[in-house]
Amino acid sequence: MHGALTGQWIPRVIFGWDPLWVSGAVFVVTYAVIISERINRAIVALLGAGLMIFSGVLNQQAAVRGVDFNTLGLLAGMMVIVAITRRCGVFQYVAIWSAKKVRAEPWGILLMFSLVTAFFSAFLDNVTTVLLIAPVTLLITEELKVNPYPYLFSEILFSNIGGTATLIGDPPNIMIGSAAHLNFMDFVVNLAPIVLVIMVATLVPIYVIYGRRLHATEEARGRVMHFDEREAITDTRLLKQSLFVLALVILGFMLAHVLRVEPATIAMFGASLLLLLDNWPRKAEEQSRQVHRAFGEVEWVTIFFFVGLFIVVAGIDRSGILKILAHHVLDLTGDSLPVTAMAVMWVSAIASSIVDNIPFVATMIPLVKNMGPTFGGPDALLPLWWALALGACLGGNGTIIGASANLIVAGFSERAGHPIRFVPFLLQAFPLMLFSVAIASLYLYLRYLS
């Protein structure tokens, strides 16, 4: 979608400079400043986008055509749905219910919270999931008088692993799905099975390192067993409405290819429907307040960051850099699909553990598309898309700065007096990340490349 849609515009760069160099320079400077984290990433991306236009690499039409509105609509729609749904307390309900199901036994709770995190992350964005699960985790570990670190550590890993499983689980998947025309079921069929294997494989070392040492007194467990999860539901009507719309939206994603609609349409329609149900009996002023509040919870910084990035990437795509880069990559991998797929997965994993996976994937998508002709058309690129999705999503687990969800948990944990330090996290999480990518490599090879 990126490359093809940048259209008929022929770059007319100021001073007659070479568009290749100008767009390359804008791209490198933009990404360098984003990585430095000195200036808010949305500001940097939008300035980079402006420079691509002012310098003449793109015009406004070409820039707008580079923006993937399917990704933006899907993100914004899901953010509105989650903002409304979370008010009813269903997430606390599920967390407490799951803790009581294992009789408030510390390892059981770690296991359940990890699975709950993975499940929610598969359907909601990872940041939202950890924002909801981390406070409940802290509450329960406080009551049990056990160290919350193993729980939060595990939740970070499982939010990124769970998010890998579906189209809507993690922004890289949304972008890949949109650009490569892969639907919700494509992701479930191709990625969910290996995600389940990786989840089990990750739980084993977590049990060995932490699980077997977790103990709580009978009295402390009794306190948790006294929690009444039904009282966590603050609004039964809203609960029913939210679950109804969420189920409808997920059904819509599953049937998207039959219905011939894009995911953004489904998410936005779902968001509008939930807004309608939530506001139906309210007075006009109250409606304005509620709608304002729901839209206010959309992460506009992320949305504008995407807009800027899409334009910057459209600039380097239009100037032909990515085509040249794709040829270089293919020269290195000897035009071999298995070697290219493995390279894409491992480079994505390592890169995503250090830098934000969103700008990385935004660049990789047109790069992979440019490889299409070599491998015999878009269909042959499937293993590369799965390699990119698995590498970019799982790679986020490598370091505490590898994904936004990691930083959110770290921030919360620090405020609560349990800081998660960079190096200790790295020493445990990075090997686990490499382990998960190794499993994914084996899967990719056996299923698609052998």
Partner: protein, 167 residues
């Protein structure tokens, strides 16, 4: 008219090393909602508030920013809370303030001490003082800008007494 003219110049104070248990006794005895903490030179350190004490009794999961918004499903007994109070009663009031400051949301108005306490200067106009009290402060420490010393405290009681002509 400035706050200097109506403030209470002899407020009850706490020393930084005083314990939470001691502070609780003072709060109960005087029915105050907050007591200023000073060092040996009477330099202002912070304001120990009754809600800090409540914060110590509540799960951190609900008192840190971004934490739980309600605890409707938690059923701690009075014994559980007494036990928690016993655990924290030996903390110094300074430690208590520091714990609170780590988790405190930013406040935006007036001048601040090292936590989210709002304080005023002796020359702060009366109307501004009223506005700060109106915004939910029960009492305001009056602190000298240069020396950092506590000069007094102003609460709405001082304001009302003055208005009613009962001073």
């Amino acid at each position: 008219m400035s706050v200097e003219l109506i403030m209470n110049r002899r407020p009850v104070t706490l020393q930084a090393t005083d314990t939470v248990a001691g502070a609780l006794e003072l709060l109960l005895k005087h029915r105050y909602r907050s007591i200023p903490i000073v060092d040996a030179d009477r330099k202002f350190i912070g304001l120990f508030e009754a809600r800090h004490l409540l914060g110590l009794l509540l799960p951190k999961a609900a008192t840190v920013p971004g934490g739980l918004t309600d605890l409707t499903y938690v059923h701690d007994s009075i014994e559980d809370l007494r036990l928690r109070l016993r655990e924290v009663s030996g903390l110094s009031v300074r430690e208590c303030l520091e714990n609170h400051a780590e988790a405190a949301p930013e406040s935006s108005s007036a001048e601040k001490a090292d936590d989210d306490t709002v304080l005023v200067r002796p020359g702060t106009p009366l109307t501004e003082t009223l506005l700060l009290l109106y915004r939910g402060r029960c009492s305001l420490p009056v602190v000298d800008a240069e020396s950092g010393r506590l000069l007094g405290v102003v609460s709405y009681w001082e304001v009302f007494r003055r208005l009613a002509g009962k001073d």
